[in-house]
């Protein structure tokens, strides 16, 4: 599996378990608009290139979420106030190719 998109904003789905992703190690593209995730975030695929999580219900991303290959992080219309607890949005560790972060405000990153 390389790409999975789901938008639960208009559905009755309450929450998804991160366990569901354990067999998707190769997942590169993930869209989970409006989803609540339960469980350890270590189980999410860490090869993700695109994470689009519009209306993400959390205030900050969980500390065990690893996004070492992420290129685009899209968290528009979400409740996110800081990326990881105690880390200002601008200071968080960037993956080598990281380029676009869409937030409630939009930030672009450039690499030298």
């Amino acid at each position: 599996m390389e790409g999975l998109a789901l938008d639960v904003r208009a559905s009755t789905v309450a929450s998804l378990s991160t366990k569901s992703f354990t067999n998707m190690r190769r997942l590169k593209l993930l869209q989970i608009n409006g989803a609540h995730l339960a469980g350890s975030y270590k189980l999410l695929p860490n090869e993700l290139i695109w994470l689009c999580w519009l209306e993400c219900p959390m205030k900050s991303l969980p500390s065990d979420l690893q996004l070492n290959n992420l290129v685009v992080l899209d968290l528009q219309h979400s409740n996110i106030e800081e990326l990881w607890k105690g880390t200002k949005v601008r200071n968080f560790q960037l993956a080598p190719k990281f380029s676009i972060m869409k937030f409630n405000l939009e930030l672009h990153f450039s690499h030298d």
Partner: protein, 386 residues
């Protein structure tokens, strides 16, 4: 110049642009056969009568309904007090559609609608004395149409509404004042459109006349098929043409989707194919630069790849720099992505439907448990054997 001055200037520019009227929509690279069809629709609209008229345009996918509707819009919009062309409606809520209509016609004001009847009342209130032109492109749900045009007295006298759809019955339900069936292009129009794509000329090159006629015959007068086949064969040698005809011959009933598929199958780079499938499944309507970053991260070469897809008429980029794909081409791409495994979405590479996604996610949980119990049972047996 300070910030306030620059804001002020921006405001003046916006007002001016608004006063200059709507900007023209991009119609088609080669508008073959459009003019006569547009004239017919304008006739049906009887522009000079003072009532509110609704005209429906229907026909099969790929036949050119949107192109014709855009041309009608361009030709007429300057004669109205307000105009709106509403497209890509599939994923929009009824309230969003009403908002768009209000914003387009009353710009630069913006509107927020939270329920349908409020929207209808607002439209009545604001449009009643305005002569407007509205095009509703590619609608297939009665609910969406009704929220916009059920009450004709929402619109000022002399207003005109054009609806395009695949579903003629929908037009009957909404009681349109006139219908136009978009039919296939004539043989000579087909050959001309095909030649423009394949040779950048209105006629085929001498050595290719017979081959061109054969291909045109298979495209069955459907502009999208003519465009895709012509774009594929542009600057190709005779042997490629012959093999294309051989492939076309095998397609039963000239099914258009299979015809279009030749263009995908003959992409020689697997990365371009994968890129096409990514876009068809996930990125239609997204900003090009945004998607380029992602595809680049995938290890593809998106700038070249997107160019190839555009040359092949499998993809286009609109004025807002968004990736666009004809519905039929998108469906073909999704069909290919689905073919990998019809019954087991979990074995597919790409999933974009909510039900399939949930199916896969639930099964994964179940499967993990099952595997775990199986392995523990196995290790139990193993440990007992030892």
């Amino acid at each position: 110049m300070n910030r306030y001055e620059s804001k002020f200037i921006q405001k003046i520019v916006e007002d001016l642009l608004h006063k200059l009227g709507p900007k023209c929509l991009d119609v088609a690279k080669y508008p073959v056969g459009i003019e006569s069809r547009v004239d017919y629709i304008i006739d049906l609209l009887s522009i000079h009568s003072n009532d509110v008229r609704v005209v429906g345009v229907y026909g099969m996918p790929g036949i050119g309904k949107t192109t014709i509707a855009k041309a009608v819009f361009n030709q007429l919009c300057h004669g109205f007090e307000g105009s709106s062309f509403i497209s890509n409606v599939k994923e929009k809520t009824v309230e969003q559609l009403q908002e768009q209509l209000l914003c387009d016609i009353l710009k630069p004001n913006t509107w927020k609608i939270d329920n349908v009847s409020k929207g209808v009342n607002l439209m009545k209130d604001r449009f009643r004395n305005k002569r407007v032109l509205v095009v509703l492109d590619d609608f297939d749900q009665l609910k969406q149409l009704e929220a916009l045009v059920r009450e004709r007295n929402c619109f000022g006298p002399g207003s005109r509404i054009v609806i395009t759809t695949r579903d003629e019955h929908l037009l009957t339900q909404i009681e349109v004042d006139g219908k136009y069936h978009v039919k296939e292009l004539h043989q000579h129009e087909s050959l001309q459109l095909f030649s423009l794509h394949a040779f950048k000329d209105t006629h085929p090159e001498e050595d290719y006349v017979e081959l061109s006629n054969a291909i045109v015959d298979y495209a069955g007068g459907v502009p999208l098929a003519l465009e895709v086949l012509g774009s594929y064969l542009f600057r190709r040698n005779i042997s490629v043409w012959k093999s294309a005809i051989k492939k076309l011959r095998k397609i039963p009933n000239r099914q258009i989707q299979k015809t279009l598929r030749i263009s995908f199958d003959t992409l020689d780079d697997d990365k371009v194919k994968a890129m096409f499938l990514d876009i068809a499944c996930f990125f239609i309507g997204w900003d090009k630069e945004y998607v380029v970053e992602i595809l680049d991260g995938r290890g593809f070469f998106p700038d070249i790849g997107i160019d190839i897809l555009i040359q092949r008429s499998l993809l286009s980029i609109n004025d807002e720099n968004e990736l666009n794909m004809h519905d039929l081409i998108r469906d073909m791409g999704r069909e290919i992505a689905r073919e990998v495994s019809y019954d087991h979405p979990g074995k597919r590479n790409r999933i974009w439907l909510l039900e399939d996604a949930l199916d896969v996610l639930n099964n994964q949980t179940v499967r993990t448990k099952f595997l775990w119990s199986w392995t523990s049972k196995q290790s139990y047996i193993l440990s007992n054997l030892m």
